[in-house]
């Protein structure tokens, strides 16, 4: 019961924040709405016993990426952009396409619910001795070691790339 209550609370946070993010005129308001939405997503992680990802979501998204976005918003002068037309000319075609995808996804979610029996509640967790973070660490550093290293190279490339992009003279 409390689970359902919190699910709907976080769902409202996530969807409300998301809708405000794509409709707000000012980019700063959009960023704040995005932060609300991301906090809601973090709450959903917590509801599903992914405590490590909950912490990562708060620290990385709400703490890191949002600050990055706000920095860029302050750095780039968005005043004229906020006064101009906010949606581009292809918006009706775009909404039509999104509607088509929505019908498709709704059909598959409905169909999948019965076909794969995912509509039942998750099986009660076998009480494991190790915590969520320990489990993730065990799998990440044994089974997924190579992808982990590749991800670190990706981050290095991203750091170099963003520095080069933001440099005045290359």
């Amino acid at each position: 019961m409390t689970d359902a209550l919190f699910f709907y609370l976080f769902a409202v946070l996530v969807l409300g924040g998301a809708i405000l993010t794509v409709t707000q005129r000012s980019a700063v308001h959009s960023a704040i709405s995005l932060a609300v939405s991301l906090i809601g997503v973090a709450g959903l992680y917590l509801l599903q016993q992914a405590e490590f990802l909950f912490a990562v979501q708060i620290v990385l998204y709400v703490g890191g990426i949002m600050v990055l976005f706000l920095f860029v918003i302050m750095l780039v002068n968005l005043d004229q952009a906020a006064k101009q037309r906010q949606f581009n000319r292809q918006r009706w075609v775009a909404l039509l396409c999104v509607g088509a995808v929505a019908v498709e996804v709704a059909y598959f979610v409905r169909k999948g619910a019965s076909a794969f029996q995912i509509a039942k509640t998750p099986a009660a967790a076998a009480v494991s001795q190790e915590g969520n973070t320990e489990q993730i660490a065990n799998v990440l550093f044994s089974q997924y070691l190579l992808p982990f290293e590749i991800a670190s190279v990706l981050l290095l490339v991203a750091v170099v790339g963003s520095v080069v992009m933001a440099k005045k003279r290359i």
């Binding site: 359902a4 809708i19 980019a27 991301l38 959903l44 979501q57 976005f69 860029v72 909404l95 709704a106």
Partner: protein, 102 residues
């Protein structure tokens, strides 16, 4: 209110994905387009975590970590490109960047 099932999470994540897609396709401001991409990646993560919880298997959470890594890299490089663009063209509107269009 019935019990919350995996299907609820899938429906929520699908809705979030569609909202993010609307943002990417219809907004002109590049900053907001990048934010919408973050929304889409978060929808993917909700999906992964829901199935990870359903199967009682942490592999889904590992994948979510990689998705978050990608999201961070994408945001950093994207915002770097945005700063370079603003320095050269004095605009942040996506449809005013049409040098490669004829």
């Amino acid at each position: 209110m019935g019990p919350i099932t995996t299907t609820h999470y899938l429906a929520l994540s699908a809705t979030l994905l569609l909202i993010g897609t609307i943002g990417v396709l219809t907004r002109r401001n590049i900053v907001i387009i990048l934010m919408s991409i973050e929304l889409i990646l978060n929808a993917v993560n909700i999906n992964l975590i829901a199935f990870s919880h359903y199967w009682q298997n942490v592999d889904g959470q590992i994948f979510a970590i990689f998705v978050i890594t990608d999201a961070v890299a994408e945001a950093a490089v994207g915002l770097g490109i945005l700063i370079a663009l603003f320095r050269n063209k004095e605009t942040v509107l996506a449809d005013e960047v049409d040098l490669l269009k004829w």
